[in-house]
Assembly symmetry: C2
């Protein structure tokens, strides 16, 4: 389900860089193609890792948000980033050292940030009103 080249990179951009829209995700340094991004997003939605919602401010825009299942991937992502940083030359040794000491906090941050946003949009959801 995550066994492809892009899904984890998309989630990394959502978690670590706060990307939420198609455009922000397209701008990732690895240059994903538009059709691939669309197809990966569809697959992530189908697998319940993210959800697509219209932007509450600009209705024409879609925002992609992590679900609880997606947020639970934060520890995996943290370990993966640490591993890659240790063994590849990714340049950003700063992030590494910070993560190293501060992994728990980073995971908590992801959790809290997305939990907050989910709460914010739950008022717009028909299911809860």
């Amino acid at each position: 389900m995550l066994g492809d080249r892009w899904s984890l990179l998309i989630l990394r951009d959502m978690m670590l860089r706060g990307a939420r829209t198609y455009n922000e995700l397209l701008a990732c340094p690895e240059r994903i193609a538009t059709n691939i991004l669309a197809s990966r997003l569809r697959s992530l939605v189908e697998n319940g890792i993210i959800v697509a919602r219209p932007d509450p401010i600009d209705r024409r825009r879609q925002t992609y948000l992590l679900t609880a299942k997606g947020i639970d991937l934060a520890p995996v992502m943290a370990e993966l980033v640490l591993w890659a940083a240790r063994h590849e030359r990714t340049g950003n040794q700063g992030l590494v050292r910070q993560l190293e000491q501060d992994k728990q906090r980073m995971i908590a941050d992801v959790r809290q940030r997305w939990a907050a946003e989910n709460a914010a949009r739950s008022m717009h959801e028909p299911s809860r009103r």
Copy 2:
């Protein structure tokens, strides 16, 4: 580098089930094809995650061993298995609960088990870490 469908599954079988030979890896439940297994093993070797050595007992046999870089993936694997177990039904809830309490020990076990085996061949390798 790990962005393909099989590499992580191979590493899972090596770490969690102790698979070391071509045959043991072929027997994984996901039914990998022989050519794909060979090609993934080659790629893992090229990327310094595993090494191939002739079995010290049966010379016809190859054994595949984790390198330090590969062993460092244990935390990633632990988190990934935990995540999958929480959100898919993989059946083995036993392993899950055990891992949940005992993640650090499991990682240490992987490390120690493979470190011991590496020591046996360490004369041929530039040591790392």
